[in-house]
Subunit: 334 residues, 2 copies
DNA sequence: TTGAAAGCGCTAACAG
DNA sequence: CTGTTAGCGCTTTCAA
């Protein structure tokens, strides 16, 4: 910056202004400075800028497992919305560790102006405490007082149950995900409730880690339980179950119907294609960023007027029926 | 930092030392400072630190499409290796744009100590120029003088061709990826060469964008060309072809064999499971980081002695045979 | 072993 | 509209 100040014969502060607040400077010198900057190949040092201004124009996105396809879509959503606003994304993989999450949240203050927290391992209280110190939006979590975007899988569960019931199933097995997952409990409760209303039975196996590999054990448990219809915590587990059932010679959906959750990459081309609750995952990422940017007073032009600046927004889910669900086998309806 | 200096009655510079170079300070005061820091909940401001020291302990990883499962594995590899060394990863999605890539590379200087460049859209010369200004390691590219890690897909292509030939195929169709892809040309050339040696014919269709959706057009082209064996640029396209062929009633592998490339998430559970060249993608990410950290003089303990500090390292690929390849149909062998 | 002082690259009052 | 002057939070000479 000094170089370009020298080159144009103005003070460094004028250069700063010409570059960051162009209309607060004489159009002529402004142009001169811009040109010099270009010629000298000047690129602002965002760190130094952040140091004085206190603003980084970056947001940290914390995910618990960068390997999980679910997050790919979230990340894509946040990335796009952020890039569109000229902001930077800081991706942090907390690797399912609450400690790593705490550490990241503590350190983030200087690196980013806000954070999007997905699949937190922290307690509601802990999250709320951090939210006081740094602008925070959580995804798939609902700590009081913290803005959040929820994917309405309970709504999807209802659709899934209706679907299975319409196919003649009278008993549904829930293949649970990790105990530490908020969504997991939420889905289970929704299932219990809908089942009661519809007068069907529910069972539960698990917990299972949210990986394809966990599907084998899950499938075995389901077969052992004599299930004919399963709703899995997520598509990863469901896809793993499909593979294992095929291996065991259990036909899907003739002998067992499987419903997944999320509609991740792969759900449409696995074998058979998976009936699943399609979640607007990417949109969740975008909405989270929009909420955050809104609270930071940094929304582009198309700012949604206070729409869901605070509180929780729930994104609807819908059931996508593919070939992994079918009529209940005779023995079941009997 | 001032707070903890005040609290312990020492100078700020001593606090700095106690925190960053603990052995350059009296053990007693050192301990006192550490404790105060902990009590005050001090976390270093990495930006300010970078400003003076010039080192950020961060590396930028540029990918051309964060959405492509191939990069998930690369990212996982870089992330792990980096985290293990206590470094930070800056993920940048260049969205297939050379401009975005240039911009990112220019701006990266202050934000990171080095960069890993994957699937660059830039020319070798441009890459080499950047490499002079900032420590750089490229993946799947080989600009002279720039350290690179290559995934040896040509070796995989040879295995794939041998495999197909052993199944009786005498003609192979290459389903090309984007023209701008270095790997694409590389695979094609390898195919031509092996084919010549083995005395079989090759054809080529494309280019096709590296998405599952591109597979439909690719499959149609393959059918039109009367192919009975295809090697696709990558698994995404191959998986899309599988879906389209199924839709058109073309049986795989009875009527057409399909070989993919990379063995990404999904290749083992698509229908039928895909025969593909398994690439050590995650390892490529790890190796790239290790090379970079090596050049930055920042390797942990297990530093590989100069092994591939510079030059190019090629990671071997192997063919994983699954159910999408089978004997050539009669009409072909006739 | 410690403190004082200078300064990393930039922005933000405050005068002029 | 522009220059001067302080810092942002930290590291790093240089002396003591």
């Amino acid at each position: 910056m000094r170089d370009i100040a020298d080159a144009t014969g103005v003070a460094a502060s004028t250069v700063s202004r010409a570059l960051s607040l162009p209309d607060r400077v004489n159009p002529v010198t402004q142009e001169r400075i811009q040109r010099a900057a270009r010629e000298l190949g000047y690129v602002a040092n965002s760190q130094a800028r952040a140091l004085t201004s206190g603003r980084t124009r970056a947001v940290a996105v914390l995910v618990s497992d960068i390997t999980n396809p679910f997050y790919f879509d979230v990340i894509r959503g946040t990335q796009h919305q952020l890039a569109g606003a000229g902001w930077t994304q800081l991706l942090v993989d907390t690797e399912e560790s609450a400690d790593a999450e705490m550490a990241a949240l503590s350190a983030v203050g200087a690196k980013a102006d806000g954070v999007v927290l997905t699949a937190s391992r922290l307690s509601d209280a802990q999250i709320a405490r951090f939210a006081e110190r740094v602008p925070l939006v959580v995804v798939n979590r609902r700590p009081a007082g913290v803005p959040s975007v929820l994917i309405d899988t309970p709504g999807g569960v209802e659709q899934a149950v209706q679907h299975l019931v319409s196919l003649g199933h009278r008993e549904i097995l829930y293949v649970a995900g990790p105990d530490s997952s908020w969504s997991n409990e939420r889905r289970w409760r929704a299932l219990v409730q809908v089942a009661k209303r519809l007068g069907i039975r529910v069972g539960r196996v698990g917990p299972h880690a949210p990986f394809v590999d966990s599907g084998a054990a899950a499938a075995d448990a389901a077969v052992h339980a004599g299930a004919t219809a399963c709703i899995a915590f997520n598509d990863l587990i469901a896809i793993g179950m499909l593979a294992r059932l095929r291996e065991r010679g259990v036909r899907v959906p003739e002998e067992m119907s499987i419903v997944g959750c999320d509609d991740i990459f792969g759900a449409d081309f696995c074998n058979p294609p998976l009936t699943t609750m399609t979640s607007p995952i990417e949109r969740a990422g975008r909405v989270a960023i929009r909420m955050l940017l809104g609270r930071l007073g940094a929304l582009p032009a198309d700012e949604l007027p206070g729409e869901h600046m605070s509180g929780a927004v729930a994104l609807p889910t819908h059931l996508t029926v593919r070939e992994s669900t079918g009529p209940a086998p005779r023995s079941d309806t009997a």
